[in-house]
Amino acid sequence: MRVLPVGEHALLVELGSAPETEAFHAELLRRREAGDLPPVTEIVPAARTVLLDGLARPLELAGRLTTWTVEPSAVTGGPETEIAVRYDGPDLAEVARCWQVAPEDVPGIVGGLTFRVAFCGFVPGFGYLSGLPDRLRVPRRTTPRTAVPAGSVALADTYAGVYPRASPGGWQLIGTTDAVLWDQDRDPAALLAPGVRVRFTSEEPVAETAEEQT
């Protein structure tokens, strides 16, 4: 762990790996909840770092942080949410090919994994969900789409994500959800905050009518 001062009121804590970063972030939240952390305005996790901003005495806390021992296995518990997915994404076949499975096997594979919001960014409410094992890593699209519809469920690298609103994007789209990822009039506005665990359930497409199934 490296603790780097940022300006006069912030610290950037650099960790050795993504799991260590998630564990350290979870420990920060646990200690803040327990009143064992000085007042801090922002705790911003990212891929390999956690930023603590708005500290009165950052150097004092920096000294304490380096004495913490945090096991990566400590990331358990935390709030859990389910997101129902229709597996109708335009890149479903591409992801299946990448995984060397049939497209109809993708829902079972994704549904069998537990994801965790490692960090947010890009647009309000977009969570980078860790939990895709290395062997299921998928590349970003070579050409990003200029418009990805809101509610698109997507994969890139070892992350899953759901687009809170229509935006450009280069992730592989495997499905769509009706879940509202971001609603500024809701409390909390964001469905996914760092630390939340996520399971994707499979929502069956609406069945065709009987007459058509001759």
């Binding site: 300006g7 960090f119 309000p124």
Partner: protein
């Protein structure tokens, strides 16, 4: 929630970019939400003080060419920030002091004579609906109200007690040259000693592409070692990023909450108002400091 007077102002002339601003919405960066808020907080606070408001009331932040609004009821207003001509129904009125707008009068906030951004406060504050506790327009993520449009109606809060007599307060003029202390880190170690030594001698200029997200600069590129890309990491207000072209970008209120270009140092927040008022072409010098001392703790000084 405090009562609101709907349709209290009518936008007659929106101006190039006039937004509703307050003290922003810090505390949501972990959800991908920028802090936003007035780029020149001292001018925003002063406008509110003059109009009889608390500092968290929303004001209008203009850009370069001001704005004009019609009062649809009697209201007190005050213009601060970038100095500019102020007119009420065509007659000159005070800048930097409370002015009384009778119902149907038009307050015209003229183009900035110096600086870029004027702040217009109204008694009771602009009372658009808050988002995550703030009424600020965030141009990066699109939270808060859209920039003003001609013909638009704006609500005001109910004014409190009439403001005490407040003397017009002189404000420092926007600087002819920006000398910005730069607290080195967190990624200064990615740059060579030679690059850091050369920095205080280098003169940059505020680039025209600057906006509420960041102050961009033109000047001598800061040498970056190859492979100075990082996984995205959290960014603070005042961070100075060095993208591959080597031209420093100073992050202002609507900055992205994370970024992947190395941050060579951070400009203390109390210097960012001056940066936000610096017109394109203004010379900029970054003076590295190795961490400013805490209270009572001696530390290295800028040279």
């Amino acid at each position: 929630m405090r009562p609101v007077l709907p349709e209290a102002l009518e936008v007659v002339r929106a101006g190039a970019l006039t937004t509703v601003q307050d003290l922003g919405r810090p505390g949501h960066a972990h959800l991908g939400v920028p802090r936003s808020g007035a780029l020149d907080p001292a001018a925003h606070r002063l406008a509110n003080l003059l109009a009889g408001n608390t500092a968290d009331a929303a004001t209008l932040e203009t850009t370069v060419d001001g704005t004009a609004v019609r009062a649809l009821r009697d209201v007190t207003a005050a213009v601060t920030g970038a100095p500019c001509p102020v007119r009420i129904d065509g007659s000159p009125a005070a800048w930097g002091a409370p002015v009384r707008l009778p119902a149907s009068a038009v307050l015209d906030v003229g183009g900035a004579v110096e600086g870029l951004r004027s702040y217009v406060a109204f008694g009771g504050g602009v009372a658009v609906r808050p988002v995550l506790g703030s009424r600020a327009t965030d141009l990066l993520s699109g939270l808060g109200p859209a920039p003003l449009d001609a013909g638009q109606l704006l609500p005001l809060g109910v004014p409190g007690e009439p403001p005490d007599a407040v003397d017009a307060v002189p404000l420092p003029a926007p600087p002819a040259e920006l000398v910005l202390p730069l607290v080195l880190g967190p990624r200064a170690d990615l740059f060579t000693d030679a690059a850091l030594r050369a920095l205080p001698e280098a003169v940059y200029r505020v680039a025209a592409a600057s906006n509420r997200i960041g102050m961009r600069t033109d000047g001598p590129p800061i040498g970056r070692p190859d492979g100075a890309e990082l996984p995205s990491e959290g960014m603070v207000l005042g961070a100075v990023q060095v993208p591959p072209d080597g031209l420093p970008v100073l992050f202002l209120a609507d900055h992205p909450v994370t970024g992947g270009y190395p941050v060579i140092g951070v400009v203390p927040a109390d210097r960012l108002g001056a940066a936000a008022q610096a017109v394109p072409g203004t010379p900029v010098v970054f003076v590295p400091v190795h961490g400013r001392p805490g209270p009572g703790v001696p530390g290295p000084q800028p040279h």
